[in-house]
């Protein structure tokens, strides 16, 4: 059996450490032993390519999940899912979740004193097309306080979950908005060592993507681990 062609390693400075004390929840949850490096076997280069379920027509449009329109600023979020070899990742499941325009999640664990929106649940999913493109329609999430430290606020963000083609390409990340003064104060975003890599989590406003009289448009590409061109010797 020929050994599988491995995916490229995690880029230096891009992946946050497991332990990052300014984000206090890492302190009791980060392993203290180093990760054990293993070769990529068939178990690592395969993965659940097609996700879990058939998608409904409006799964990607979070403004259509209830009878009425949600409150807030309607936005279009679109982009491509790529490998860091530059190849698009087609037919991969993209899942998102977010709070409403007031900064409140529809979740029993969210006790923030901001109103729920009866017309907004905050979850969506879509498959990328043959060129790796995805598109969501939603409302711009609000900022909200959390108890990480004195006067801590999360910048507005949308959570993204992606699979890619393999077990080692799995990625959960967050998308932030340009110009947000809370970004530099956010220990979750700042846990990423390389400032240039941090910027890759900020979407770009694109007037060309806005739909006149209807919604603002943001572009956001997401780059997963891609493949080495040549097989590695063991």
């Amino acid at each position: 059996m020929i050994d599988p062609v491995p995916y490229k390693p995690e880029e230096e400075g891009v992946w946050p450490p497991t332990l990052f004390p300014p984000y206090t929840s890492t302190v009791k949850r980060a392993p203290r032993q180093p990760l054990v490096y293993i070769p990529q076997t068939l178990s690592e280069v395969t993965g659940p390519v097609y996700g879990h379920s058939k998608l409904a027509v409006d799964d990607h449009d979070l403004t259509k999940h209830h009878k009425g329109e949600p409150l807030g600023e309607r936005i279009i979020v679109t982009g491509r899912v790529l490998g860091d070899d530059g190849c698009p990742v087609p037919n991969t499941l993209v899942e998102i979740w977010q709070c409403n325009a007031a900064g409140r999640y529809r979740h029993h664990g969210d006790q923030h004193d901001a109103p729920l929106d009866p017309n907004f649940s905050g979850g969506g999913r879509v498959l990328t097309d043959a060129q790796g493109n995805y598109k969501f329609i939603t409302i711009k999430p609000g900022a909200y306080p959390w108890r990480n430290h004195q006067n801590a606020w999360r910048p507005a963000h949308i959570h993204f979950s992606l699979f890619g083609p393999a077990f080692v390409t799995r990625l959960v990340t967050q998308m932030f908005f340009p110009g947000d003064p809370l970004l530099a104060l956010d220990p979750i975003m700042m846990s990423v060592p390389d400032p240039v890599a941090r910027d890759r989590m900020i979407c770009k406003f694109d007037i060309g993507l806005t739909k006149p009289e209807w919604a603002l448009g943001y572009r956001h590409d997401i780059v997963l681990r891609g493949r080495n061109a040549t097989p590695m010797e063991h």
Binding site: W15, K28, H159, L171, I188, A197
Partner: protein
């Protein structure tokens, strides 16, 4: 060339989207192989259970074949088994999957990997997900598994072995200890 997008925590509110009905059941009535229940508790460095973790598993079928285009083995795909599951932990930090015991799959070179289930752990407080593997107590192939061999500390290697529980059907227990004395071995590839 494109550059990688960083990982960020799944946070405490992923229940809005990620868990789904039946995510913890990988089998149908017609799936081939030995039915097993894989269960365990996820705990932090104080031994406190995590009620906000999300566990995903990925595994080969009973013959040892992944339902994926890159698995070129001559073994058969089981149309009644994909091999992927997702389960949020309960208030007590417990996850549970109904699946089958996977068959062995090829390893590096001409080695054979013992039956194992690939595991991803997501949670608030984890800026990047952790990966580990479930092996099975009493499996003869464990002795020659090339990945288990990478864990030279035999006490730590034990954290990767699911323990068979007493009872009628095959129940395997695999606790995930994020930190501390019995810390689970986590991998990077």
């Amino acid at each position: 060339m494109s550059k990688q997008t960083p990982s960020q925590t799944v946070g405490p509110f992923f229940h809005l989207d990620l868990p789904f009905e039946g995510g913890d059941v990988l089998v149908t009535a017609n799936t081939k192989g030995e039915r097993i229940l894989l269960e365990g508790r996820v705990v932090d460095g104080d031994g406190e259970p995590l009620n906000d973790a999300l566990i995903e598993i990925w595994q080969a079928n009973a013959e040892g074949r992944y339902d994926h285009p890159e698995d070129a083995q001559e073994k058969q795909i089981d149309p009644e088994f994909h091999g992927w599951g997702r389960c949020p932990t309960s208030q007590d930090g417990v996850y549970r999957f109904q699946t089958v015991r996977p068959g062995p799959v090829p390893g590096p070179g001409n080695t054979l990997q013992a039956p194992h289930i690939n595991v991803i752990v997501f949670a608030r407080g984890m800026l990047r997900h952790l990966t580990t593997r479930v092996y099975f107590e009493g499996e003869a192939l464990n002795a020659d598994d090339p990945i288990l061999a990478r864990v030279t500390d035999t006490k730590r290697r034990e954290t990767l072995i699911a323990k068979k529980q007493n009872g009628g059907s095959a129940v395997y227990r695999f606790d995930i200890v994020l930190q501390g004395a019995n810390e689970t071995v986590f991998f990077a590839a």
